[in-house]
């Protein structure tokens, strides 16, 4: 299970990176990065997964005393939460940039933005 998720995650990262670095359209690049981010999140959660355990929430089903043997490692989940939010933040920022870039040159082709080089 964890392996499936992890493999999917990695594949998603690679697909995302490939899309981001081969599509010239800036919006497509951002979409691709979003896919890659999803992949990263999957990998993160998958690494923390432990077979046969439940979510790290204490309730009647999982009393405090049994927590150690019953719950999944909560840390990766906490990290993923943060990562998701940060990912959205960056995505939003990139979108704003994309729009602004579009305003300046009227194109979304990344290869047109090479005024600065060498």
């Amino acid at each position: 299970m964890a392996m499936i998720a992890m493999a999917t995650g990695f594949v998603l990262i690679l697909i995302g990176l490939f899309g981001a670095l081969s599509n010239r359209n800036i919006l497509r690049m951002i979409v691709a990065f979003a896919v890659a981010n999803t992949g990263v999140n999957l990998v993160l959660v998958a690494v923390g997964y432990m077979d046969g355990r439940t979510a790290p929430i204490l309730n009647e089903a999982v009393p405090v005393a049994e927590a150690t043997t019953r719950i999944i490692d909560p840390v990766p989940q906490a990290l993923v939460l943060t990562a998701i939010v940060i990912g959205v933040g960056v995505t939003a920022l990139m979108l704003a940039y994309a729009y602004k870039l579009f305003k300046t040159k009227g194109t979304l082709d990344i290869s047109q933005y090479t005024d600065l080089k060498w």
Binding site: L12, L27, T38
Partner: protein, 84 residues
């Protein structure tokens, strides 16, 4: 157990397919964005299977929902810009 693995496999395949749809350049941008959102949504299901309901909620609400809308807003503005 095998059931969940089967679901997971299906999910994985679906995710990869939608990821490819999202990143292949031939389709319209709208479809790409939707496909990316779908991948994200599927991921949140996967998170549920992985015992991470918090993450699942977040991914669904933020990663899949809000992000898609952000994309569409920008796409809309760009489209309008193209018409000018």
């Amino acid at each position: 157990m095998t059931l969940s693995i089967g679901i997971a496999l299906l999910l994985a395949i679906a995710m990869v397919v939608s990821a490819i749809m999202a990143t292949r350049g031939r389709r319209s941008l709208g479809i790409s964005i939707l496909a990316a959102g779908l991948a994200s949504l599927l991921a949140s299901v996967m998170f549920l299977l992985l015992g991470a309901p918090d993450v699942a909620m977040t991914e669904a609400a933020i990663g899949s929902g809000l992000t898609t809308f952000l994309f569409f807003f920008v796409l809309g503005r760009v489209r309008r810009g193209e018409h000018d």
